[in-house]
């Protein structure tokens, strides 16, 4: 790469030198013989010749990265970090919160139609729930410590002062680096557990056409996961993979790549992260405050049968056919037992 830049610099500079030699009467033409050589040593000429590339040379210290003399890419990265990311992240997170408040005011809490039946059906087993909460809890800490790096100094620093803010950020950084591992493991397990129920199919197209459960009024057919949930799944798995790969590149600085690669990894990591944070805000809302009966799926794992029929009718039919029917209420007695 370095050789390429230098070759480019020489190529561009040669015609300039040629002109200087054929026109010796130009005022200020140097008389020193070394200056008759291609003037590629001039800073502005070199930078122009490299067209925004890195100016690099040879160095005699062991740290070969130090051979990079000027890297203009830092300017673009600064612009990204301070302006682009701040706006994209701010709009994604605050915009999603505003949307959710608006949605709540317009639609209210989505009730279970016909009320709770008192009979439940198992939606997620212990492994599924444990894995979900491992991913969820690490994601929340990763998200908060990540947002802190971009927004903390504007939001938190004025509130707690520099020393406390440094302590928070330092611990946040350690948490961010080490919780990446359980998070990644959880994403892999999530993929293995749920991918078979998340392959898009014709039901999803009909569900989306009907406006789904959020916007529309009817309750279009849905299997174990509706199209919206499948979207969340794929955003989590693919987005999680993207932040994991770029995150591991960042956590082993300059082991896999050079400075341009580090900057690019940070750009991908942060943009995918803020989008995931926005999506997860919506996921958290609809799983708790936004819908009656939904949070049971991930707490006890047992959802009310009426809730299940309302939102995942095809899945309920499937489960019933398998003989894994609903469990009766605790006080129920066998037929003829009274």
């Amino acid at each position: 790469m370095r050789a390429l830049f230098l070759a480019a610099a020489l190529l561009v500079a040669v015609p300039v030198a040629g002109q200087a030699q054929t026109n010796p009467n130009v005022s200020g033409t140097p008389t020193n013989p070394t200056s008759m050589l291609p003037p590629v040593a001039d800073e502005l000429e070199v930078i122009k010749a490299l067209q925004g590339g890195r100016v690099a040379g040879r160095i005699t210290i062991p740290d070969q990265q130090a051979a990079s003399l000027i890297q203009p890419g830092g300017r673009s990265w600064r612009e990204f970090h301070n302006v682009t990311l701040a706006w994209v992240g701010g709009i994604a997170v605050l915009g999603m919160l505003a949307l959710l408040v608006l949605f709540r005011l317009m639609k209210g809490r989505i009730p279970v139609e016909g009320g709770l039946s008192g009979r439940t059906i198992q939606r997620f087993n212990l492994l599924e729930r444990a894995n979900h909460w491992m991913v969820a809890s690490t994601f929340i800490i990763l998200a908060l410590s990540g947002l802190n790096l971009t927004f903390g100094r504007h939001v938190l620093l004025p509130l707690v002062g520099p020393e406390a803010f440094t302590a928070i950020s330092q611990w946040g950084k350690y948490a961010h680096n080490f919780l990446a591992f359980p998070f990644t493991l959880g994403i892999v397990v999530m993929l293995l557990l749920w991918v078979k129920d998340n392959i898009p199919n014709g039901t999803d197209a009909r569900w989306l056409k009907a406006g789904g459960g959020l916007v529309g009024h009817g309750h279009p057919d849905s299997g174990r996961f509706n199209a919206g949930q499948k979207g969340i799944f794929w955003i989590t798995v693919l987005g999680g993979a993207a932040v994991a790969v770029t995150g591991y590149i960042l956590v082993f600085p300059f082991f896999f790549t050079d400075i341009a690669g580090m900057q690019l990894s940070h750009i991908i990591h942060s943009i995918v992260s803020v989008v995931m944070i926005a999506v997860m805000l919506a996921h958290i809302y609809i799983g708790t405050l936004g819908m009656e009966g939904a949070s049971d799926a991930m707490t006890s794992g047992q959802v009310d049968l009426n809730w299940a029929r309302q939102h995942h009718n095809l899945w309920v039919e499937q489960e019933m056919a398998k003989g894994r029917g609903a469990t009766p209420p605790a006080g129920a007695k066998a037929a003829g037992g009274d």
Partner: protein
């Protein structure tokens, strides 16, 4: 107050690395950290020049702009310094710095790079001037003693100039006018958004 700058006259630098050695010795800089280095461009080819580079103490410094914990500050002499007690070693300043000035004491897997270290323009840090605490964290504070950075003081060919920007620019300008050529004040356009007009 002066606006302190570095200026490297690449026509004079002979790549002797005395500036590097002086810096390391003056501040007891540990192994693996180079606050200053000499890079040779076009090595062995026409147009070969050596450039001694360290933190340029930029106007509108990129390191300070991206620092998540705002640990940088600019002194009255326009020297860009940072507070190691606040630094979390995230490495962002290295991504933003055009000159590769920020250094980290450890190899740094898992983000344990340690506190960032860089050229202080021989001006120490936020601790009280010329105290033991300041010396251990940041090295000596020559500026507080009325002296200029040692790298430039030691430079045998006076290729590396340190001091008030207007004064060193005038010295360089006179040199270029007298000898008839120069290869630009390396890093000035990037660091100070200006170059020395001849």
């Amino acid at each position: 107050m002066a606006r302190m700058k570095f200026l490297l006259d690449a026509e004079r630098c002979i790549e002797c690395n005395a500036c590097v050695t002086a810096c390391k010795n003056e501040h007891e800089v540990p192994w693996g950290i180079n606050r200053r280095r000499v890079v040779t461009i076009n090595d062995g080819k026409p147009g070969e020049r050596s450039v001694s580079m360290a933190c340029m103490h930029c106007t509108d410094a990129p390191c300070a702009a991206v620092c998540p914990v705002s640990c940088f500050y600019t002194t009255a002499d326009a020297v860009v310094l940072h507070d190691k007690d606040l630094c979390i070693g995230c490495g962002y300043c290295f991504y933003a710095c055009p000159f590769g000035a920020p250094q980290y004491p450890r190899v740094g897997n898992f983000g344990s790079r340690g506190k960032m270290d860089k050229c202080t323009y021989c001006a120490g840090g936020p601790q009280a001037d010329n105290t033991q605490a300041e010396y251990i964290q940041y090295g000596s504070n020559r500026l507080a003693e009325g002296k200029l950075p040692l790298c430039a003081e030691m430079c045998s060919t006076k290729a590396l100039l340190a001091g008030d920007g207007a004064v060193i620019a005038q010295i360089y300008r006179e040199r270029v006018q007298r000898r008839g050529y120069g290869s630009g004040a390396w890093g000035w356009r990037t660091a100070y958004r200006e170059t020395v007009a001849i």
